[in-house]
Homo-oligomer: 301 residues x 2
């Protein structure tokens, strides 16, 4: 009951601080045809941290032959000039990835399971049941090792292949993954199909299990509804979002999926709505312009 | 009091029918470097009407040497295969344009004044006072001739040059232009700088002068907030919007101004929020794809 109240009364008028996690160096770069050099990637991460972004996803542990853009994530962590106060994380796709993250002393991992059976099979080769079991074990291991965990649900607001995702499925995954109280719970609109009503509905239901200030929402702009969905989530009390410089990103296993909501447009919109992000918008814009040159393509400004 | 109540109680739950006006053939094409042939323009308008769009702005009367994309608007109206029930309109920039529209028996004209002094001078060469006086005279003439009028305010939500536009200025213009009760009152976010809070604020104030169901809002997606602003306007009771196929458009006198919110994304978003538009989304998509070929550039799908 107390939690239910929190989810519905912590409205847009309350906390004005919003925490953004920059996912461009991971979700963004892995979708780009051009692979940045190790040095360029490191510099990108360092300069993003310099703009005041409080959280940065620096990469993931995957087979570099399959995803060359994400090679040498352990070395990246060792070499990186770290900004005090910034939370750096990696995405751990499986137990092997988690072991590598632990071996490198990476302080925060993100562990996601897809609420869609079809997407789960395409993205991880696992059925939902199997993926959920492995993720649970990984989360327990990570927490035992004293590192921070974001436990998340992909396709939490619907699936390109399966259409609407039953809310009970999302709630069951959240319950299972968050049983040991992780740092935050992620809800990702992986294909970018959600509309504001769907965001409100899912956030308010999940908010009964997890305090809404522990929820992190990831939005994609596939339908042009990215910032409308951001606003709906804000109205439901969400204050943590994943965004990507220049709106980079997508999902290799979802046809037509567009990039994440862009960090610049999100910061601009949030500040204009009276929220504080702590991010230097001009600094971001400089990084975006230079990144566009490195990637050899225009990035919306 | 009654009107005030209407503006604040006619919320998103009430009327589910939304009327879109397609402005691609006018605002859209005039921003394109490539000029369509007369036949291609006519076919575009006819095919847009076939998708069920209830209102289409077919052009404006301007000097064809200055805006070749808008040449022969009178001939366009005569030659067009008209769909019964569709409202066709032109933009009349000055008395001369209105006279031409009247001479061609065009059934509906749109007459806009900019709430920003600087933008007014750049866009029409007139001070606000002068432009307002001319627009008032034009509206009286149009109404006396028995044709429909949309009286509108450009930069109603802020100006690229002047920043925030005082609400009193917007209200004064609306009062003056609508003194003889026009068909509808337009509020345009010409530079695309508005955020949802600004939309709500202006609509609720103007809604005290004009029943909110007579308001037509035009949004541009400069900041990625287009559909978030659409939703804010819907929540304030607005049911009329200007949109543009493929998100075409902009303003030649505002640096960086992006196109209108796209008709396809708006229809998709509205239908998904439970509103009815009467527009065939698949048909629209076919028109968009063919238009992209004619214009020789990609249009977001």
């Amino acid at each position: 009951m107390a939690k239910e109240q929190r989810a519905t009364t912590d409205k847009i008028e309350s906390g004005r601080r919003v925490w953004l996690q920059e996912v461009g160096p991971r979700d963004g770069l892995q979708s780009e045809p051009r692979t940045l050099t190790f040095e360029a990637r490191a510099e990108l991460i360092e300069r993003l941290a310099d703009t005041g972004l409080p959280r940065i996803q620096i990469g993931s542990f995957v087979n570099p032959r399959r995803v060359p853009q994400m090679a040498a994530t352990g070395k990246m962590w060792r070499c990186l000039r770290k900004k005090p106060g910034t939370r750096y994380s990696v995405l751990a796709l499986n137990s092997k990835g988690l072991d590598l993250a632990l071996a490198e002393n990476i302080p925060h991992v993100e562990i996601y399971v897809s609420a869609s059976e079809t997407h789960s099979l395409k993205n991880s080769g696992s059925t939902l049941t199997k993926a959920l079991k492995e993720a649970s074990r990984m989360i327990t291991t990570a927490l035992e090792n004293g590192i921070g965990v974001t436990a998340g649900v992909m396709c939490a607001f619907g699936c390109f292949y399966e259409g609407p995702v039953p809310i009970d499925k999302v709630l069951r995954i959240v319950k299972e993954l968050d049983s040991n109280e992780t740092v935050e719970v992620g809800l990702a609109d992986t294909p970018g199909l959600a509309d504001p009503e769907e965001i409100t509905r899912v956030v308010e239901q999940v908010g009964k299990l997890v305090a809404v200030d522990r929820l992190a929402v990831r939005l994609h702009d596939t339908r042009g509804l990215g910032l409308a969905n951001l606003r709906a989530a804000l109205e439901s009390g969400v204050r943590r979002f994943d965004t990507s410089i220049g709106g980079l990103g997508g999902c290799p296993f979802i046809p037509g999926a567009k990039g994440n909501i862009s960090t610049e447009q999100t910061v601009d919109a949030l500040e204009s709505m009276g929220f504080r992000t702590g991010v230097d918008l001009e600094g971001l814009d400089t990084v975006r312009a230079e990144l566009a040159q490195l990637l050899g393509r225009a990035l919306p400004g």
